[in-house]
């Protein structure tokens, strides 16, 4: 249960136990010393009573001594002890009565002694008075009567009784004082020993408990301080690396800053060039539109050419048809001429002349056929040329169409280029702006990095301090461990 107590609680418990024991011992000792004191007071009181008893007797003796001197000598100088004793006795008896107020038997004896004293004093006064008057005889007779001696003997007897009783009481009270002193002594000795034992046990227990607790804590502190030392070392290394990295970062950021400025300038130039490009694209768009109109006109002309060429082809075909008829006629003429020649061969001399005519007709027909053939070839050439021209023109027309389409596409592309270039211009301006902002941000970052580098240097310094502190802490924990634990070799090695 006490394992969970705090140091303060344990120490407070130990001190509370010691306090209780001291209080008990003190109380007992106080009581014993009070008893001893009161007993001693009673002894003193008894001695005082004894002194008063002796005083009363002494005063009575002084008075008698003075009376006798005066009576004998008549010298007034001898009356001084008489007057001192006679005057002091009542006060002394009164004090004695007060002192023995708690003792009825002594009061009774005082009651008995008082008349005797008065009688004695009266006898002394009578004799002194008589002497003064000069009646020495009377005085001698009174003394000889022995009245005075009788009073003195009784007084001595009573005072002796009182003295005896007081001495008995004194003895009894001295014994009581001795007993009280012995009790107080025993109480103090045994109580102190008990207290020492308890305090020793509790102190040992507390010392062991605290020693083990502090020892384990100090061991933990030692391992923690070792870890802290290692961590501080690592931190110092890391901080140095960080400082180097910070320096590199700062250099890189400076380069980045320069690059950002270059980018901003380039973006500005790009924006200018893009603006010029946009103007060129717009003028190109207008040029393309003009070219498109020209191509449309060419297209119309080409269509006309194609129509004319087709018409020419049709006409050539018609010529061919007519030529077919001519060729057929020539062939028929040729056949007729041949047949006429054959017929003429079978005739007489007239037939020979006819044969000549027929031959001429045949020749004519041959020539016609040849010319027809030539014409046909020419017509074929014309038709072929027309076909070629038509095909070429159509392909040209298609090319013109394609060109027109391509021009439309080019126009659209120019429009797109203009749009894109305006977008590019805006983008370039945005890039310029962003790059300037970036440059500003990079400058801020540079400042921040410089601050961070400074902070890193400070951190490096503080980590060095931390390392030193950790080393000191480790040393302190070793010292503390040596303080709280007995220095065995194992413990010493552990502490190291």
């Amino acid at each position: 249960m006490t394992d969970n107590w705090t140091f303060g609680k344990k120490i407070a418990a130990g001190f509370a136990l010691a306090f209780l024991l001291l209080t008990a011992i003190g109380t007992v000792a106080y009581r014993s010393i009070s008893t001893l004191t009161s007993t001693s007071e009673w002894v003193t009181h008894t001695h005082e009573v004894l002194e008063h008893i002796a005083g009363v007797l002494s005063l009575a003796k002084d008075a008698e001594t003075g009376q006798r001197g005066y009576v004998i000598t008549g010298d007034e100088a001898f009356l001084e002890p008489y007057e001192t004793g006679a005057g002091g006795i009542p006060a002394m008896v009164k004090e004695l009565r007060k002192l023995t107020a708690d003792n009825p038997s002594q009061q009774k004896r005082i009651d008995a002694a008082e008349p005797i004293l008065e009688a004695k004093l009266a006898e002394l006064k009578q004799t002194v008075d008589l002497r003064r008057k000069g009646s020495i005889d009377e005085v001698t007779r009174i003394v000889r009567a022995g009245e005075g001696k009788k009073f003195m003997d009784e007084l001595r007897k009573i005072l002796e009784q009182m003295d005896n009783e007081e001495r008995t009481l004194l003895k009894q009270r001295a014994e009581e004082v001795a007993a009280a002193a012995s009790g107080a002594q025993a109480t103090i000795i045994y109580g102190t020993l008990f207290c020492l034992l308890c305090v020793t046990i509790v102190g040992t227990l507390i010392t062991r408990s605290l020693g083990s607790q502090i020892g384990s804590s100090v061991g933990q502190i030692q391992s923690s301080s070792a870890e802290l030392q290692a961590a501080a070392n690592q931190q110092a290394t890391a901080t140095r690396e960080q400082a180097t990295a910070m320096s590199e970062i700062s250099t890189t950021i400076n380069e980045l800053l320069a690059t950002s400025r270059q980018i901003a300038e380039s973006a500005q130039r790009v924006a200018q060039i893009a603006g010029q490009t946009a103007g060129a694209a717009r003028s190109g768009d207008a040029t393309v539109a003009t070219a498109h109109e020209s191509i449309t006109a060419i297209r119309r002309q080409v269509d006309l050419i194609v129509n004319h060429m087709l018409e020419l082809g049709k006409k050539s075909q018609q010529i061919g048809a007519v030529l077919d008829i001519v060729a057929e006629l020539a062939e028929q003429t040729n056949i007729l001429a041949i047949n006429a020649t054959i017929e003429a061969a079978g005739a007489s001399e007239a037939g020979k002349r006819f044969a000549v005519v027929a031959d001429e007709i045949r020749k004519l027909a041959d020539r016609v056929a040849g010319s027809t053939k030539e014409i046909r070839g020419l017509i074929d050439d014309v038709r072929s040329s027309v076909n070629t021209t038509v095909m070429t023109t159509e392909s040209g027309s298609k090319a013109v169409d394609a060109g027109a389409r391509q021009f439309s596409e080019v126009a659209a592309a120019f429009g797109q280029i203009a749009g894109l270039v305006s977008t590019t211009t805006e983008a370039a301006r945005e890039i310029e702006l962003s790059t300037k902002q970036q440059a500003t941000a990079v400058e801020q970052v540079n400042v921040a990095i410089t601050s961070a580098a400074q902070a890193t240097k400070e951190t490096e310094a503080s980590s060095g301090q931390t390392l030193q502190t950790a080393v000191e802490l480790s040393g302190l924990s070793r010292a503390l461990l040596r303080i709280v634990q007995p220095q065995t070799p194992t413990a010493a090695r552990a502490a190291e």
Binding site: I335, I342, A355, V356, E360, R362, K363, G370
Partner: protein, 199 residues
């Protein structure tokens, strides 16, 4: 037809400019007029023989004009069933009916799908034990009617058929006509064959 061109006209295929055409027309006209201006005897004294240049299959042949009766084109041949492979049908000629034979088949060529366009008419007089003949002989291509001098003819017993290997009995001699050497088809021999078929 190309024969006339080869002799008298400009080769076909060459371009004819208007000036040249005009020149040619006037030259033609002069030649035509001159033929009538010359004496008939002079013309006849040349003794030129007429020859028909034809083509059977891809091979050129020639026919003497004196051996035939006429030349026709695009005649309507009415087909008749016959065991004779060369007989194409019959045709009406100047009020007479005449059988038409494929000259190519008679000379050993395979028959063609369409009946030939051209046709010559020939006859053979009746002789001892034989009837007279009046027949049409159809062929595919008529090339030209040319007149050649006698020197152009070359005599030989049996001329080689141009393609080689086929019957030679109808070919007698050659003639250089229409730009090339042509075997001459002898109509008498052909007629004999037709007559043999009839028998």
């Amino acid at each position: 037809m190309s024969a006339g061109a080869s002799q008298n006209g400009t080769p076909s295929g060459q371009p004819a400019d208007p000036v040249a055409s005009g020149g040619r027309a006037s030259a033609l006209r002069r030649q035509f007029d001159a033929s009538f201006a010359m004496a008939a005897a002079e013309s006849a004294a040349e003794r030129l023989d007429g020859v028909l240049a034809i083509r059977l299959g891809q091979d050129p042949y020639a026919l003497r004009l004196t051996e035939i009766l006429g030349l026709h084109a695009d005649r309507n041949i009415v087909p008749v069933p016959s065991p004779v492979a060369a007989l194409l049908g019959i045709v009406g000629l100047r009020g007479k009916m005449a059988p038409v034979y494929d000259l190519g088949v008679l000379l050993g060529y395979p028959p063609v799908a369409q009946s030939p366009r051209w046709m010559i008419v020939a006859d053979a007089p009746p002789s001892a034990g034989a009837v007279g003949l009046f027949v049409g002989l159809a062929f595919e291509v008529f090339e030209a009617h040319v007149r050649v001098p006698p020197a152009a003819f070359a005599q030989s017993e049996a001329a080689e058929k141009p393609g080689g290997g086929a019957p030679r009995q109808h070919l007698r001699g050659t003639v250089h006509a229409a730009g090339m050497l042509r075997p001459l088809i002898q109509m008498a021999s052909v007629m004999e064959t037709i007559r043999g078929n009839k028998r």
